[in-house]
Structure formats: C-alpha cells, structure tokens
Amino acid sequence: MRRYLLKRLLLAIPTIVGVTVLIFIVMRVLPGDPLAIIFGENTGIYVLTEEQLQASRRSLGLDKPLYAQYFAWMGDVLRGDFGRSFWRPDPVREIIVRRGAISAQIALMAVAISWVVGLPIGILSAVRRNSTLDYVSRFLVTLFMAVPSFWLGLTFILITVIFFTWKPPITVNYLWTDPLKNLQMTIGPAIAMGIGLGAFIARMNRTTLLEVIREDYVRTARAKGLTERVVILRHALKNSLLPVVTVSGLQLAGLLGGSVAVERAFGVPGLGTALVQAITERDWMVIQNLVLLYAVIFVFVNLAIDLAYGWIDPRVRYG
C-alpha cells in the first residue's frame, strides 16, 4: 500500500511538471503579450512610451529569458509563493483562498446534491425495473443529462425572480461569516450543477446495480432469507458504487475549478470567474498558478479515487 502510494506520487510529478511547461509555453507562444494588450498603441487604455514599457516589463520579470522566467516561477511555487497578479495588488494566493473557498463549497454541495438525488433514483429504478416509476425516472434522467447546467441556472433565477421576487445576494459572504447569506449565494449554482450530475449518477448506478443484482452472492443473500432492503442496501449497493465514485471524483475535480458558465449565470465570484478575467487580461501569473492548481487537484482526485476503491471493495489490491 505504502509502495503503491509512493509510486503514484512519483508518477504524478512528471504529469504536473508537464502541465506547467505546457501552460508556460502556450501562453508565450499565443499572440498577445500582456503589456502589448493593455498598453499597446491602438488597443490599450494608457499608451506608454518605449522606455516605460521596458521598465514595466523589467518590473514584472518579463525581460528575462524564458527558461529563467520558468525556473523563477517554479522556485517561487516550491517556496509556497504564487506571485501576484500583474494588474491588481492581490497576491495569487489571496485569490485562490478567497475565491477557491466559494468554488470548492459549491462543488462539494453540488456533488452532495447529486448523490442525494441520484442514488435513490438509481436504486429505485433498478429495483423496480421496467415499472412506470422506472420509465418516468429514466425519462427525467435522460432529459436532465441533456440540460446545460448554466441554462438550468438561468431558469432557476428566472423562476425565483418571477414567482418569488427573490434575487441572489450581490454581496459576498462566507460560510463562517454569514452562513445564511452564504447559502443564498451558493445554493443556486449547487442545485444547477448538482441536478445534471445527479442524473448521470442515477443512470450509472442503475446500470451497475442491475449487473450486481444478478450475481451469485446476491442470490445467496436472498436465499438466506434477508429482507430485500438489506440485500439491496447492504450487499448490492456497495459493489455498485465503484463506477459512481469514479464519476463523482472526476466531476468534483472538474467542479473545484468552478464551472465558469454557471458562476457567470449566477454572478458568483468563484475561481472560474477569476480565471476568465485573468485570461482576458492576459494576467499570466494568475493563469499559470490556477492551471497548476487544477492539475494538482486533478492528479490528487484521481489518486483518491483509486484509494477509495480499496476501501469500498477490499478485493482491490494495489500493486
């Protein structure tokens, strides 16, 4: 187990380094130097002279050769310093902590909602196979898998505005400062994303549960005279959860970065919004570090999924 963990962690290093190199190169290869965009002759807001441009380049460290810039960045990251935004006074770490908290909270709530909604529907649908309930739930599942989350968000806002004359709060509140206001801000995006995910979970769970129910040990459990409830919830469900955990993990990894479009629909200042802003402003330092953050999250969530396998299904051995 420990060896497996070590091996996986070592394997993660080239992937993460690869991502940093890729984003570093991509940003510098694509047209649009940050200073040229903001201070350029025709595009910019302020026009700087050539000397001023050089000076600000130097102050941002953009005058050094590329490899020096890359190693300076990596060195800073290893020291836990994520640099600061090119255009704003905020250190990138601040952005990550402030906005990441909101995105992470929404992501966790969305995944929780998807389980609360998806698992029971999946179980009922599998147990009552080909009943009216099954058909209705399969119809809803297929429908909600097709509904774009950000559109669900827009409809959610529309309904609350029209029928309840209620709007999401404009001010930003954290769970630890004002839980009620915070929930008002986060519940909408969480539901908008959670329902789509839940549909996926329900479908996945139904398929795998149907397979598991056919297995011998389930028949044995029934033959022992256990109630159907215990057979399904204790014996079958646990084994049908593996793919569900995989899917949820990957979804969570995707959501932690904040679903940009849903955040936009609700006007929530999460990581996704920060990223879009950084990209439009060519704020290289912010983009680089956010991408690095995503890559690290992705790699570790994948590792966590694999470790969860062993916990759910003790037959899984790590080699």
């Binding site: 080239p14 690869g18 694509l30 774009p148 995707g254 936009r264 879009v276 995503y294």
Partner: protein, 316 residues
Amino acid sequence: MSVTEESRTVVARRMPERAPSHGLVELPLVASRALIGVLARFSRSSLLGAGSIAFLIILVFVAIFADQIAPYGPLVADYTALIHPPSLAHLAGTDNLGRDALSRVIIGARTTLFVAFTSIAIGEAVGSAWGVISGYAGGRFDLLSQRFLDVLMAFPGVILALLLLVALSAGVDTIIIAIAVTRVPGTARVIRSVVLSVREMDFVTSARAIGASPARVMAFHVAPQVVAPLLVIFASGLGGAIFAEAALSFLGLGIPPPAPSWGNMLGGILVTSFNPPWWLVVVPGLAITFTILALNLFGDALRDYLDPKLRGRLQQ
C-alpha cells in the same frame, strides 16, 4: 434471345450488386438504398433512436434552409417591438433590439451545428489517428505519448479553449479549433485501448507476415476495427460540442455577436439586463437541450446497435 444474352442476364441476376459499366450513374442510388436499409434496421432496433434521428434530420434541414424558413432576417430589428413577449407576429418574442427570437434560433442552428460537427470531426480524426498509431506502435513511443496524454488530460480543457479563444480572437474558426483540441486526449485513449486488443488478432499478424508495411496495416487492417467505437464517440461528442459552444458563447468568448448562435443568445440577455425576459431564456435553452437530448439518445441507440459489448468501455 440468344444463348450468350441469356447467360448474361443470369449472371446479372446472380450478382445484383456488381453494376455494369455505366454503374457510376447508379452509385448514388445504390448508396442511398443501402443507407435507407441501414436506417430501417437501426430504427427497428430502437424506437427512441429512430425518433431522435428523425429530429436530427429535420434539424439539419432547418439549418440548411434557415434563410428560407426563418420568418425574419436574424439581424432585422423591429423598433416598434422591443422585448416583446411571444405573439402572432413574433412566435418566440423579440429581444432588446427588436430582433425576432425564433428567426435567430433557426439561423443560429446553422452556426451551432456547423461548429459542433466540424470541431468534432477534426478532434476525433486527430485523436483516433493518435490512438491508432500509439496503440499499434507500442514501446517507447506509446509510453511517451501516454505521458503526454496524461498532461493533456490533467490540463483543463475549458482553460485551453478559453486561452485559444482569447489569444486568437473569437470567431467561428477559433472556436472550432478550441473545441477540437479538447476532444483529442479522450478519443486517443479509448481508441488506443481498442487497438491494443486488435493488434494481437490473427488477421493483423497475417497481414504483417505477408510483408505489409506498418502504415498499411494500420490504415487497412487496424483502422477499420475502430470505426464502430469511433462512431459512438462521435455521436456523443456532438452533444458535448454543442454544450461547449453554447457555454463559451454564453461567456461572450465564442461566436461573436451580432451573428446568432444559441449560446450567445443566452449570453446576450445577461449583458443587457439582470431581469431576463423569460422567452429569451426558454427558447434558445430548449433548442440546446432538445438537440443534446436527441444526440444522446441517438448515441445510446447507435452504441447498442453497433456492439452491445461496447457499453462498459465507453461509459467511463
């Protein structure tokens, strides 16, 4: 009738597929008859699949003849009817510039479908070629390419798409490239896994044994085997591409206005008001939802039709 003539008719009757010398003229006819046959068998295998394919065919026709079908031009502004709810004159209402929402959805279908189809075609072509080469070549090349795919997978696709869109400035070409790029790693992975098993089959070994070059083996012996999974990936990818285009355009980074696409119609509402008129939210949203729904149903039916065994592998 002479003997030779009679025998010729017999031969012709026995081999109906082999067309005579003027066969080129009949080729479209034969092809369309074959296509109808496949469609009929497919429809019998799944009613939902048949319904979805009918919907998609109608949608494609609407997109092609959008100019003739749409009651108004997409940019024609009716200043006497700004933000009007659905009425007889404007069945789906008008937006803040008095443009007819129904016409914009119909014309937008063209953009949306075109972007989705081309981006997926490019993405899957590159991804499957990559998967075939990587899986067939094996060894160090495969190892390296797998690590590179790891990096691409860990690199959030949305960010790559956003970076490309901002750097290359929003437009139809850019959004096609941006969506295509995000499709490559996933496809390459799945196709590679199929190729790994195909590679060991006897017909591949025998092709190699008679001296076929690696390129020939890959193109004529391995590649045909990945067509079935590729079709399924293609169908499900289209839904994803429509979502991606809608989301990016919604963010204002996709199809630049005033040209309509389903995504930027939704995005446009937020720019102009915090209290969006319901028809402008509902109409483009339903268009997106039903199209993705039809594509998903079609993809599922196609998967069952082509190979029930594929189920597990492609659901991951």
